[in-house]
């Protein structure tokens, strides 16, 4: 990422490991409730932080339903709408969805919902892989400022933010710690 971590200062802590666990537990229950069970469900995490969140939701569903639902991970880089404007193209990671998604209910999982452009890319990427019966969206944080007509079906927390702020979700699997923080560009240096 081009914005250096050191340019940002932490403005507020929204959630810690326990908070994230509770949010994911509620989301897991809502997914199963909405689907009236686990039949035909497939969880798909959007790389990178959507993937560990999808893994956790899957474990939680396994705990209270006793079912292991299939899951995969989706890399949306090749479907981004801003590749024309980026000088150095970002790293492409692999998409691994080990099940046929035709006729399934796919729940996309991501950490933060912001402009909606990542989700738009993910929808296109997913539709190239098959024809799901339905696609739903689960996010840990919805921070507003949508630029496309996209809405999440399952939301951990709505966090009103300004454009200058960044909502940083850390997960143990990627960052060594679980937290949701609001960060802001530091004006001192610029």
């Amino acid at each position: 990422m081009p914005t250096k971590e050191s340019d940002l200062k932490v403005k507020a802590q929204i959630s810690d490991a326990n908070g994230i666990r509770r949010m994911l537990t509620r989301i897991a229950h809502e997914i199963v409730e909405r689907n009236k069970g686990t039949e035909n469900l497939v969880l798909v995490g959007i790389r990178r932080r959507g993937v560990p969140l999808a893994v956790r939701i899957r474990e939680l569903i396994h705990e209270f339903e006793g079912e292991q639902i299939p899951m995969g991970s989706l890399d949306i880089t090749l479907y981004r709408d801003d590749l024309q404007t980026i000088a150095q193209h970002p790293v492409v990671r692999t998409t691994e969805i080990p099940v046929d998604i035709d006729g399934k209910t796919v729940v996309l999982v991501d950490d933060v919902l912001y402009t909606g452009r990542t989700v738009r890319s993910a929808l296109n990427a997913l539709i190239d892989l098959g024809r799901p019966q339905a696609i739903r969206l689960a996010v840990l944080v919805d921070r507003g400022h949508r630029e496309l007509p996209i809405r999440a079906d399952f939301v951990g927390k709505n966090v009103p933010t300004s454009h200058r702020e960044i909502v940083a979700v850390s997960v143990v699997e990627e960052d060594g710690t679980d937290a949701v923080q609001i960060k802001e560009l530091d004006d001192d240096g610029s």
Partner: protein, 317 residues
Amino acid sequence: MDRKDLLGLEDLSTDEITSILDTAEAFRGVLDRPIKKVPTLRGKTVANLFFEPSTRTRISFELAEKRLSADSIAFNASTSSVVKGETLKDTVQNIEAMGVDFVVMRHGASGAPYYIAGNVRASVVNAGDGSHEHPTQGLLDMFTMRRKTGRLEGLTVAIIGDIAHSRVARSNIWGLTKMGATVRVCGPSTLTPREVEKMGVTWTWKVEEALEGADVVNILRIQKERQTANLLPSLREYALYFGVTPERLRRASQDVVIMHPGPMNRGVEISQDVAEDGRNVILDQVTNGVAVRMAVLYLLNGNEPASREAEMATVEG
């Protein structure tokens, strides 16, 4: 990777090579899907300028371009303005003036793509220049080796054949030695560059010695079209002394990876049995070639302004 052109593996760093191979892995996944197309290079145009005949490489590039949703135009030297006497630079600049973002170029003269790269804004990809380099072939060979054995560092690779005329050999040698593989080259001394050992490889004329314990054998094509200087007594004699046969292969590692950049001369550099051996990955090389060329086109950034602000805006989304 911050680079306008891909001209040769000699110019690349190990990080750049690794980044191309990793990216190719993602594109290899795309090729296994029911819909083998991604919208990544929508709106970009690629000119394929082949001043020398080529089937495999040209089709492979064309497929890679189509799979990335780029528009491609083909240029055939025999039916073009080249026969009317236009210079190389004028030809390429005229094509660029039509709004081309990438130029994929095969040329009989070593160094031709370097000359063009310095004269156009488009990204230039060398698809083989004379007997100099064929970087995408070198990359797809390394990609295939890495997929098959799980590594490049510490691999022992034997390259057998006409080293002097082979751009494939040169790209393989530069790439593999950079990535930490041990490279042995083998062939008649008339077809070996005098100072090949300065490239960091060992040379022998004994096929048995080159194959001893090798993890990979890359068998090069005897290029009949380049054998005008009587460097070989006959193809039959070449097959007798340098042809890779099942008996000779027994000296190599038991699960040796057998490679050939194609097109094969069965019964000359590769015996019929070896060409049919279950350990050969010759068709995998072809499939992997498309993925590697997609990765290269994706990673090069010709004609694009470096826009720091645009990057800032993509931090989240």
